[in-house]
Amino acid sequence: MSDDSALWLLLGPAGAAGFYWAMYRYYRNTDKSHAFERETRVEAQPITGSDRKVDTIIGTRETRIRGDNVDAYRQRVRRVRISGDGGSEDDG
């Protein structure tokens, strides 16, 4: 039996688990909370920043950057102190 057909045979267990998981969430709504990121009135000034090329990766098999958290807004990362003067500079 090839790798491919072994993969096909996982369809049953995966489907059962997926169904259970989806219906559990539909009934219990454990994934719901206040979406304050998009439901609160936020007025932001233009975003500033810098982008600096630091490295090149050749021949990786990963489809995304490791530890991608660009849309996991609520996942906290290391807290540091604000670097600027903390005052009211409005850099353009």
Partner: protein, 432 residues
Amino acid sequence: MPTSPPPSAPSGPGSPRDVPPAPGQLPLDPDALPGPIRDELLAPDPVAIDTAAEELKDGLNRCPKCGASDIRQKPGSDLLICLYCRHEWQGERVEEAFGLGEGIDRLRGTVIASGARDIDAGSAALVSFKCAGCGAEVTVNTEAGMTARCHWCRHVFGVNEQIVNGAVPDAVLPFHIKKEDAVARIRQFVDKRRLFALKEFKEQFTPENVTGVYLPYMIVDANARAEVAGYGEIETRRYTRGSGNDKKTYYDADVYAVERQVSFTVDDLPLESSRSRGNLDTRVNTNNIINAILPFDTKNAVKWNASYLSGFSSEKRDLDVAQLMPVLDDQLLSIARAQVEGSVRRYDRGVRWEEEAIDVRGSRWVAMYLPVWLYSYHQPGPNGGMLHYIAVNGRTGETMGSIPIQHWKLLLAALAAGTVLEALAIWIVGHT
């Protein structure tokens, strides 16, 4: 199952640390499911009212002259106008009365409204009055309500002066959704989730037992600056090596060090100011349900008046501004991360933020009672079981709930689904 609540906030899929999915999203395709399940999934949700609607702008205010409630804001001014007798007057909305919503970008330091002051630990929850009608002593238990009736002369009292036990907020948002409406919404919500619901829950389901509760919140305006730093990757080449079954895809990418800064103001962010309600661990409680029906149209809140609370129960605030500061920092950081997301779209292999910083330059805190219709069901089990809530937003009608599950039934259905898929898989493998 954990035996006690964990010390740190829960994280990972299924916790409120997870960014909630957009409304109406379901990981399953309903069309691929059997009829009864599909019907449940596709039944309409209770409708939530758009609070931007002009007719809600009046709150529950009545014309002081004639008592009619057909009141509109006079265009271009702060005045309210009664459409019945044409009487005009200044609305009692705290937004205008206290100047909230203005000058958030100029906020500096922590501004605390009088009703949001620190709670005096020594102050009692029981407040007693001398009845003006008959002289009897009347006690109001502010843990659960803000009004009481003198049992001698039937005179009704309300706690109107601000006392330091945290029970009197700055403002209150009166109920707009009526009880019958809330009952109908809860019924509609549950009807969409009957197939796999716990049998006892279905048998004991009496939405008429829903209670109107005023829950304590802090409504926060803030002015902050955030900085984030991390790495982003842009794909430069994609190619496959090997052949047949050993074909593998490889990627080349450029790595960038990314930094972003953003200054922003946040208007009316609601934070739970009750310790127990603020605990959103979905493994031990269903408070995330009440959290999910936020936000409210807090702009329409009116100055505190205990008579709004007669007939409803209320919960007391037990958290101070200082204790809620870390929660505010956390939510502001989340908002900042959401704000900068648009500026890093060109990193098509994603961004890994590694550092973040927040500087809250100014914040303004207002204590407010918000109206919630709550239906609860206690599911017995280990560690005291689980209290399931179905909550209806008392202003917008947004409905959310947690329905206890009949696990064996769902498990059986999942196994059946798995068996069908497995049979299909075996057939495919046999024919290739």
